[in-house]
Symmetry: C2
Subunit: 348 residues, 2 copies
DNA sequence: ATGAAAGCGCTAACAA
DNA sequence: TTGTTAGCGCTTTCAT
């Protein structure tokens, strides 16, 4: 074989380009980093040489030399609900602007403790971490504290003031949802909580309670049941609610996934939505508008939360000064078809 | 401040550990690479030193030295449906075993042509690429061909025999679905195709047609409408089907997302499922079992497809020899509540 | 079993 | 404007 016909496609390096263009490697580097101190003609030659050799920068090497990776990590348990999909859409958009890449870390990987895993992630390739909190186990958050690392919490408020975080008006959202039901005449309203270790979940519960009190609706403790933000718990806890006496005429779930579970549970009992019982969720995940009946819910701007999350993270990365910031976006009541005026008016 | 109190938490390097343990950097490297030629006591000391300093290997440097990244890329447009979530679960599991990381590339990033994007991805950090085909634009696949790069196609068969791919028995699955409907007495069966540029979509259509023919059901061309695997097209095309004369008594959608759209469309027309019209999907995404009525469908082993995809990719990466392999997994008819015997028997 | 030394491909002072 | 020279933190021969 002729020797100008390389068999190995060992990727061309910056040196190859330099030789081809008759310049030094540093110059090639400058060209590809868009430094302005390169003569136009030189730049041209370099670019041509690179083109000819099919040169593409080796990211590993660049990252090592620069001491940063231009990648950020997203820690999630799984991708199995629309909630995270929406958030990722926002994250990704914002990342694209800033020329960052996204590494996906799932928390259910075998055989590592949360903190070890976090350590690993942190010291690894990514410059910072985005945590979608409601899906994470609490231990993760605890481990985070011990880390000196750029991260931002998505969909959770950190009252300690130590973390960057983005969330929405949880209290107000829940308040609105419950008020809406009360206005429809409901008085026996079941409430399925999220994981109450999370502030966002607590705030939703508090918003609900406040709405009840502000409207002089008696708070029944048995109508407040513990969920954990996943569909199965929505299903189970709804079943419990439906067995209560008197039975609630409406259910508010602390997120849509649980609301979906509630819909199932209600049908399981042979009841009709919203005729027999109204249901309202929280989040407005894509599925909410494809259920039947379509789910009324409190919309969180998920995509925007993802975007803001990225902004907050880059803020930390780019500024040396990093005073934790917390941003709160507003929720919005989305009325669809899963709620209607209460049927049997009567009991207080 | 005392000088043994570092202010900067400049991550400990292999040298720091070496010094602390009183060995050379090479030895530390050996320990962390599980080479057997290290005395046990030395290993112990190194491990302790590392522990003490909180040492975690710098992946960038390791990758550069090793000439590989131990990351694989997953190319998807978005994460907004359960389909991809299932596949990712499988991918991630398998990756965890092999100690690889996952980079998420979304195709809807601004301002890059498909091929440019692929080039970038390919030459970038990842060792190989996983493509979830049904969600990708055709141009991506065409661009792939020009690349000398390890990749595997998920949920698509490559009849050219040039690509590693994993798919399921599309033809048989569609055949089963249609046969099932025919057995329920349906004769006017609408079919919503996927993107027919894809073999998987074509095979599903062919399976459907074969089932019709094998059962002596007349093929009506107007009952075959063009979808593209997304929910919206399922909705629109179903509307078209519902306006036909005579109206189909059943619809088979080439995937569940479109089946979801079909459910909506049918209700939009004031019809009942399955009473007035039966619907069957393909995939068995998580949502399929949470719709109401629950969607009957043809199950693809999505998670397993993800796992096998990774296996095929690592196979390429680890073996120098890489004879394209194609693996086909079996589908399974999942009967739930969206189909029932036809109402008005009679025609044909 | 361990250390020394070279190098992975790039960036970034510092000179020139 | 360009080249020279050190690294970035790790792996990997090759010696010892």
């Amino acid at each position: 074989m002729s020797d100008n016909e390389a068999i190995y496609t060992t990727a061309a390096t910056i040196y190859d380009v330099a030789r081809e263009a008759g310049v030094s490697d540093a110059t090639v580097s400058r060209v590809f980093n868009n430094k302005h101190n390169v003569k136009t003609t030189t730049r041209e030659r370099v670019l041509q040489a690179a083109e000819k050799l099919g040169y593409v920068a080796n990211v590993q090497a660049r990252n090592l030399a620069r001491g940063k990776s231009n990648m950020i990590g997203l820690l999630v348990p799984g991708l199995d609900n629309g909630y995270i999909g929406e958030i990722i859409r926002g994250i990704d958009q914002e990342l694209a602007y800033a020329d960052y890449e996204l590494m996906l870390y799932t928390t259910h990987r075998k055989g590592t403790t949360e903190s070890a895993y976090l350590q690993y992630v942190a010291n690894g390739f990514v410059d910072g971490l985005l945590l979608v909190v409601p899906l994470l186990s609490i231990t993760f958050l605890e481990a985070l504290g011990t880390l000196n690392y750029a991260y931002v919490l998505i969909d959770e408020v950190d009252h300690s003031g130590n973390s960057f975080s983005v969330a929405s008006t949880n209290w107000q959202g829940a308040y609105d949802a419950t008020t809406y039901l009360i206005q429809l005449g409901h008085r026996q309203i079941g409430f399925i909580t999220g994981m109450l270790e999370l502030n966002s979940a607590k705030e939703r519960l508090n918003g609900h309670l406040a709405a009840l009190r502000d409207n002089d609706v008696t708070v029944r403790q048995d109508l407040i049941v513990d969920g954990d933000f996943v569909q199965a718990s929505g299903f189970e806890q709804s079943l419990r609610l439906l067995d209560l006496e008197p039975r609630p005429t409406a259910i508010v779930a602390s997120n849509d996934m649980m609301a979906l579970g509630a819909l199932d549970a209600i049908r399981e009992r042979g009841l009709q939505i919203p005729h027999d019982i109204s249901v309202i969720g929280f989040d407005d995940i894509p599925q909410a508008s494809t259920t039947h009946p379509k789910l009324s819910t409190v919309r969180q701007p998920l995509e925007q939360m993802g975007r803001v999350g990225v902004q907050l993270l880059l803020e930390q990365l780019e500024a040396s000064e990093r005073q934790p910031r917390r941003v709160t976006l507003t929720t919005q009541l989305v009325v669809r078809d899963s709620c209607q005026p209460v049927n049997n008016v009567g009991d207080t």
